[in-house]
């Protein structure tokens, strides 16, 4: 595959702390990719190396096929939106946006046209004469976005672009930003620690942990086929079980070794009694420990063979309460063996299908 931006075997440490460990990934032209990982995983460092704000210890950074390791930040032609926006507070919104163009000594008419265009795009025309401190968080983010786009960069990088915005505005901004980036067709890479955000905004998700790239792929791939234990655990609302062979329908395929597994809430079918369940034979009996109202559904913690599992239950079904006995059918488990993840389906389902 031909990538517009590519990192190859990047290594970087700060005082012995490995922020990037043989990290390689690429983003295709026009793609909107998200670097997702927990705090301290090294994702911001990767972004900063791409921008030229940090120098990798080892490895190559390629932009449009050209190695840019030794190109200073200001010559890379990258648009960058900082987490705190880094707006120039003594300049008006208009001057902030025009800064990059002025630096390049564009003629003033061109600058005005381009700035107006971006003010229009970001819906900031009304506040063009204001100063950053007079704007709301969402407006500031859009100024930062417009400023980064003004010099028409070939690549846009965004560091936790929604971190400093309150929850309600964040939702709107996410879809706005996604749309704006797709309309412009600019290759973009953003950093986030919020998987909902990554899944909702990105075309491609790159999962980072301890300076390593764990997996890269579409949100669906990441969700359905986690390749490493970390990804399986990190994505979704997962519960880790020490030995999955204790559950009905799951037997060990190899003798010995670990039988650790991950069970997601959506893998479990909950039932109040046997009538309610599709495959009663393979179901485990358990006790409801707690329920949490989630608005659109109820999260249920159920104890099965001494292990608390998390499942979801529709509000349309008979409500379960703490102390109730219930049935839980586990459809599948992600087994975590030797650093790989494998999906194991419940055998009861296979038998059933054979019978039918």
């Amino acid at each position: 595959m031909k990538y517009e931006v590519e990192l190859k075997h990047i290594e970087k440490s700060f005082n012995g702390f490995k922020a990037a460990n043989d990290a390689s990934f690429g983003v295709a032209k026009g793609e909107l990719a998200g670097l997702l990982g927990p705090s301290g995983s090294g994702k911001t460092t990767l972004l900063r190396m791409l921008a030229g704000l940090e120098k990798p210890d080892k490895g190559d950074i390629l932009i449009a096929g050209r190695r840019v390791n030794d190109l200073p930040a200001r010559e890379r032609g990258i648009g960058f939106v900082f987490q705190n926006y880094a707006l120039f507070r003594h300049m008006t919104v208009r001057d902030n946006i025009a800064f990059g163009l002025r630096v390049q000594k564009e003629d003033s008419h061109k600058i005005k046209v381009r700035t107006d265009e971006l003010l229009e795009l970001t819906g900031l025309s009304q506040v063009a004469k204001r100063y950053p401190l007079q704007l709301s968080g969402g407006q500031r983010q859009r100024v930062a976005f417009a400023r980064a786009l003004a010099p028409s960069p070939s690549l846009l990088l965004l560091d936790e672009p929604f971190a400093a915005i309150d929850a309600k505005v964040r939702k709107e901004l996410r879809s706005w930003l996604r749309e704006a980036i797709h309309n412009l067709g600019i290759t973009s890479l953003f950093v986030t620690h919020d998987q909902d955000e990554a899944v909702e905004v990105a075309d491609k998700i790159i999962i980072v942990n301890n300076g390593r790239i764990e997996q890269a792929g579409s949100p669906l791939e990441i969700y359905q086929a986690p390749q490493t234990p970390f990804v399986a655990d990190f994505i979704g609302e997962s519960v880790k079980v020490e030995d999955y062979t204790q559950f009905k329908g799951f037997t060990a395929e190899e003798k010995g070794g670990s039988h650790q597994g991950i069970i997601r809430p959506e893998f479990i079918e909950l039932a109040k009694d046997e009538k309610e369940i599709s495959l009663p034979l393979g179901a485990e009996r358990g006790t409801v420990k707690a329920t949490y109202f989630r608005g659109s559904s109820v999260a249920v913690d159920i104890e099965v063979r001494g292990q608390i599992l998390r499942a979801h239950r529709s509000l349309e079904k008979a409500p379960l309460q703490a102390g109730d006995k219930a049935l839980a059918f586990i459809h599948r488990i992600y087994s975590l063996e030797a650093g790989r993840t494998r999906i194991i389906e419940n055998r009861a389902k296979q038998k059933e299908s054979v019978v039918i």
Binding site: A19, S39, T44, R48, V191
Partner: protein, 291 residues
Amino acid sequence: MEAVTKLAKPVAGSQSRFLKTETIVKWSLILTGAAFLVVMMILPLILIGVEALGKGWNAYLAALNEPFARKALWLTAEATVLSVVSNTIFGLAAAWLLTKFDFRGKTLLGSIIDLPFAVSPVVAGLFFIMLFGRLSPFYDTLQAYHIAVVFAVPGIVLATIFVTLPFIARSIIPVMEGQGRDEEEAAALMGASGWRIFWQITLPNIKWGLMYGIILCTARAMGEFGAVSVVSGHIRGKTNTLPLHIEILYNEYNFTAAFAVSSILVGLAVLVLILRNFVEWRMERKDDHEV
């Protein structure tokens, strides 16, 4: 990302490779700054040492041992101690009042505290002349009771207190402001008395800020010249502080003695700088712990 940004911060902030001005620019700036400090600060210090010892150790020691010099040293010490003690009490009270309570006229009170900073020391001295001198409405009363303020020790002490008044208050107020009121309020709700709250909760929190203020106040008090000069009347052996004594020696062309006496003050100034740096380091370390 906390861990990484924390590690990356110093790189980005202070010496980020890609933004670092070229070595030539860097070193020419450093050398210009260093040259400035050598000419303005170091040369005068060296000169004081050279001049003080210009006629040998015996002349140096003799200048320090002279009775007028010793008297002046005592008077300076007296004025300094009195200023520091009274301004500490005031500074603590003012900081407590300004940071723990809301009331009208707070800003005005703050400006009055700062007033001594804005007034030339000579003008400050003039204020006290007007208050206690021949033109004062109290002059006759003071005379009747044989109380001499101006051209006497009390005037010197008052002028020194005035000039150094804001230092301690201004050093503690920001620290106390940063601490907020929560801890004191919690203690008060648990029934602690005012003194107990102050000694056990507030004071431990502000001790380095207080030290800082005391050091600044000491430095200024022992060196005060303008204000003291106006109110002292320059009576040798009676109303001469060390700086005034230096002036007299210098004007009598007794340079060796003038610089010898100065060298005591230089020693104290250097001590002040070292202590100040130490306290500042402690305060920063405390901030780091809190982060």
